[in-house]
């Protein structure tokens, strides 16, 4: 029940605010209020989350019983980290960007929160698909109405690109449930039950590819990344934070939940292909980031590069790497959200995010420089940050899998150090330009919790990892069994 409240409160509040044409100050205050409310509920849920592999806080209500479609939601170790991030990051972003005066932007950010939460908690493929698609609409409006540059075009491009993937997934879902129906005589969309579908090898590969296309576009992995840079460049900050910190992780989550949940054996069979693709796109995105001079683009590519690392960790699929993946989802969400907020603050003051025209900030704004450097470095994972622990775990896992994979993964992390250091150097240091206003208390109010969370997860990762350990063990056992065969 509590999860349903968390899914639908933002949506209903958004609709309410839209219909009553509320004034901007009221809208901002209510959005923040709703998001803080959701965050407090999430903390409550986290405290009550038992460290075990089963689904918790479950509710299951028939929706279209005729087709075996249920409103089935629940939380387990797979979704826990992203669940917490959605609930915690959204209010912090709202605090940081509290001066944005567009009603639509705020309302859409509420609705997209509902969509992400729903997709994250859905245990029924149909429900998942519903939320997966609907969360696209608010983003479509956010970019198209409040974006920059050729926003109409890029908004359409992003939407059409993503829906292409979704339709491939739809066909896969339908094929899967029809096969299940033919074999078992009844329809079901339940992810756990669909595991029992018997498919030929070829069918499995096609269905796998249909799902993978949808998730790959969302993350994005090479070669489905062509929407990425333009979309980030023309999006308003809230949309970028949602896209990079939350929605891209949803692609990872969906692979974890659906591909490994339903097609475990074919996923492990194709793992070496995905891992090579992931490693290649890691390096490729890192190189793109090194060669860009637009801050938004650099961090868009750096985020894509790290997401590929998460993907690699996911497909390595042993217990160490899966722990790393769970933690990395949280840590990367925190770091990217923070860094894009910093970029927005920077853009507000300098009207430019071009590396060549920046510089000399450290002299006039020490606090800003401290936080910028901290968040930038937390992305590469310096010790004491959560990125460090998770990268170490994934790399350890990849060495367990194969030393070559481990070696390449380590190299590409090194590559990301190159451009992060370059960014810090060119943004903060250099000749002093005009005065740069330091961080305000309101901005600190959102950045300090983000920094503390990153440190907390970096110094005491076990409090979190112990909660997901049983789930991870459950999944990695299946992979052990597969490789033993």
């Amino acid at each position: 029940m509590i999860l349903s409240v968390m899914i639908f409160t933002p949506f209903l509040a958004g609709v309410f605010l839209y219909l009553f044409r509320a004034k901007i100050n009221f809208v901002k205050a209510s959005v923040l209020l709703v998001q803080v409310f959701i965050a407090s509920l999430a903390i409550d849920v986290y405290m009550g989350f038992e460290p075990s592999a089963i689904l918790q806080f479950e509710s299951n209500i028939p929706w279209i019983p005729f087709y075996g479609i249920n409103y089935h939601i629940g939380l387990d170790g797979v979704s826990l980290s992203l669940f917490m991030m959605v609930a915690l990051i959204m209010p912090l972003v709202s605090i940081a960007l509290y001066d944005r005066a567009f009603v639509g932007l705020w309302i859409n950010s509420l609705i997209v929160q509902s969509g992400i939460m729903g997709a994250l908690l859905a245990q029924d493929l149909m429900l998942f698909y519903l939320f997966w698609e609907t969360m696209l609409l608010p983003i479509f409006f956010m970019i198209g109405i409040y974006g920059y540059g050729k926003k109409e075009f890029f908004s359409m491009k992003f939407t059409i690109y993503t829906i292409f993937g979704s339709l491939a997934m739809l066909i896969s879902i339908l094929y899967l449930i029809i096969s299940f129906k033919v074999q078992h005589g009844f329809y079901t969309f339940d992810i756990v039950s669909l595991k029992d579908t018997i498919l030929t090898h070829q069918e499995q590969i096609f269905i796998f590819l249909g799902f993978a296309l949808a998730f790959g576009i969302k993350i994005p992995i090479f070669p489905f990344h062509t929407w990425l840079a333009d979309t980030y460049k023309s999006s308003p900050t809230i949309a970028i934070v949602i896209l990079s910190a939350l929605m891209s992780k949803l692609g990872i989550y969906a692979i974890y939940r659906i591909l490994f949940g339903i097609f475990a054996s074919i996923s492990l069979e194709l793992a070496h292909l995905v891992i090579s693709l992931g490693l290649a796109s890691m390096l490729y995105f890192a190189l793109l980031a090194i060669n860009s001079i637009d801050l938004k683009k650099i961090f868009a590519y750096s985020s894509a590069s790290h997401l590929s690392l998460i993907l690699v960790g996911l497909f390595i699929h042993n217990s160490t790497s899966l722990l790393g993946v769970s933690l990395f989802i949280a840590s990367h969400a925190l770091s990217t959200a923070a860094i894009f907020i910093m970029i927005a603050i920077l853009y507000n003051r300098r009207e430019s995010i071009n590396l060549d025209s920046l510089g000399g900030i450290v002299q006039s704004a020490p606090l800003f420089s401290l936080f910028f450097a901290f968040f930038a470095l937390s992305i590469v994972g310096i010790p004491f940050t959560s990125g460090f622990v998770s990268e170490i775990l994934i790399i350890l896992g990849s060495f367990e899998y194969s030393s070559i994979v481990g070696f390449v993964a380590t190299t590409s992390i090194l590559a990301s150090i190159v451009f992060i250091l370059n960014v810090i150097k060119k943004t903060l240091f250099g000749k002093k330009q005009e005065d740069f206003k330091d961080l305000q208390s309101k901005e600190l109010l959102s950045l300090i919790p983000l920094a503390l969370l990153i440190l907390a997860l970096g110094i005491f990762p076990n409090t979190f990892l112990s909660k997901v350990k049983p789930t991870v063990d459950n999944y990695s056992n299946s992979s052990k069994a597969h490789y033993a065969k």
Binding site: P62, E133, L170
Partner: protein
């Protein structure tokens, strides 16, 4: 004793005829009110037949088994009555604002609805033809009522000539079928086909093909789709809505009845043809729809694509029967709601020129309500989840996969993907741009309410849960579609 449907048929007929008689003395306002009341009273009156599955022959002594009244036809009759009443309500201002709408136009609308009702009940090839012609003839005239506009007259002649020409094919086909089988009744025909070998059925097969050609023409399927764009475009908006939405559904009602009784045993012969028609209808419609500037022409072209989706379901009927037919019925309901809504919103825009993507720019800031409603209908037509259009597509694609026509489902998904482009472009035009020209809209509160009701239905039937047991939701609609198929 007359049963309900007979009373309704006689009632509408009597009203129409008396309207004809008094047409010179009545004002348009009065005629409008009378037609509206007739349609909605008949709708409410027939609602009491809902519930149990039933099937009765109409006046068996006179008509033998030519007309059949069952749950299946009841659903369609209710759709015709409801949507034509909605149509009149939504386009009230349009009708009164355009001087070419006369009392006669309303009479023709009543007659066409009457024809469609008969069509959905017909159980005999000859009756089906007569009903089809009653409806078509009325619509031919309605297309051309704006006689001062060249495009409208062109559309009228095109439709009249082509329609009558294709009607002749039907008659020829009917003759061939009758020569061989000696019957025109659906039931006897089905018996005849199932008891004879293919070698003895050549004339029936050829005749069936000819009849199919006429029906394909009416639903603007490949290769008979070329007329539809100009004619939908030339007709006044409410009439386009009547043709593209309501009339098409009535054709599908007779196709469904014909196919489920007669066609099943000839499936191997006809199926490849329908599959081909479906593929090319979807492709041709998408191709036409992308390249349009005017919203009305785009909706007309996209209605061809929707016929293509419906043909997917039709081609899977042969293999899996029931589940394909109720997916078809469900899709018809979804399509009728969304097309009625979208064309309705268009007809509420008071503009001399065609509404184009360009002139729609900034519509959301001048008229946020209609823009929101239009977006909902566009999403539903595009098959975006959380709308009824999505569930319709979902059922159709799954029935295609179930009858192992997976490539057809994939193609359907591809055309749905293409449709995202032209439907989302409407939303993008309305929301993403500053207004350049302010579009005036009619401000009739009743039309707004009807548009709101339709959009509510589009969303509610898309996500409505059976959790609220007192409100029939999606599941009930699905089960209902299934039950009416069983009444056939």
């Amino acid at each position: 004793m007359l049963n309900n449907i007979e009373i309704v048929l006689l009632f509408i007929l009597a009203i129409s005829i008396s309207l004809v008689v008094f047409s010179t003395k009545l004002s348009l306002q009065k005629a409008y009110n009378i037609s509206l009341i007739t349609l909605s009273a008949s709708f409410v009156f027939l609602l009491q037949d809902l519930g149990e599955i039933f099937s009765t022959l109409i006046q068996k002594d006179i008509f033998n088994s030519m007309l059949i009244y069952d749950s299946f036809s009841l659903l369609f009759i209710l759709i015709f009555l409801l949507s034509s009443a909605f149509l009149l309500l939504i386009s009230k201002e349009y009708i009164f604002d355009h001087k070419y709408f006369k009392v006669e136009s309303l009479i023709f609308i009543l007659f066409s609805v009457w024809g469609m009702i008969l069509l959905s009940m017909s159980n005999d090839l000859i009756v089906a033809f007569i009903a089809l012609e009653i409806a078509s003839m009325s619509i031919y005239v309605l297309v051309g009522i704006n006689k001062h506009k060249l495009k409208s007259s062109e559309a009228f002649f095109k439709y009249l000539v082509l329609g009558s020409f294709m009607g002749a094919f039907y008659l020829l086909g009917l003759t061939l079928v009758f020569i061989q089988s000696g019957t025109t009744s659906f039931i006897d025909l089905a018996k005849y086909i199932s008891t004879h070998e293919i070698e003895q059925l050549y004339l029936v097969i050829v005749g069936g093909l000819l009849i199919m050609a006429t029906l394909m023409f009416k639903i603007s399927a490949f290769p008979f789709y070329a007329w539809s764009l100009d004619i939908y475009d030339g007709a006044p908006l409410p009439i386009t809505s009547l043709m593209a939405g309501i009339f098409k559904i009535s054709i599908f009602s007779v196709i469904l009845r014909l196919f489920l009784s007669d066609y099943i045993s000839l499936k191997d012969l006809y199926d490849p043809l329908i599959i081909l028609a479906s593929i090319f209808t979807m492709l041709a419609g998408s191709f036409l729809a992308i390249s349009q500037d005017s919203i009305k022409r785009m909706l007309a072209a996209s209605s061809i694509v929707h016929s293509g989706y419906l043909l997917i379901a039709l081609s899977s009927i042969a293999t899996i029967g029931d589940s394909a037919s109720y997916s078809l019925v469900f899709y018809l309901i979804a399509y009728f709601l969304s097309s009625l809504g979208s064309l309705g919103v268009l007809s509420m825009i008071n503009s001399k020129d065609d509404v184009t993507y360009e002139s729609l720019k900034g519509f959301a800031s001048t008229n946020p309500f209609l823009a929101l409603m239009m977006s909902i209908f566009m999403l539903s037509l595009a098959g975006f989840p959380s709308s009824i259009g999505f569930l319709g597509k979902f059922y159709i694609f799954s029935s295609a996969i179930e009858s192992s026509l997976t490539p057809l489902a994939i193609l359907g998904a591809l055309t749905a993907f293409i449709s995202i482009y032209y439907y989302f472009k409407v939303i993008a035009s309305m929301y993403f741009h500053k207004n350049i020209s302010v579009l005036l809209t009619y401000s009739n509160i009743k039309s707004y309410i009807i548009i709101f009701i339709i959009s509510f239905l589009v969303l509610y039937l898309g996500i409505g849960s059976s959790y609220f047991t007192y409100l029939p939701g999606t599941n009930d609609l699905t089960e209902f579609s299934k039950s009416i198929i069983n009444s056939l």
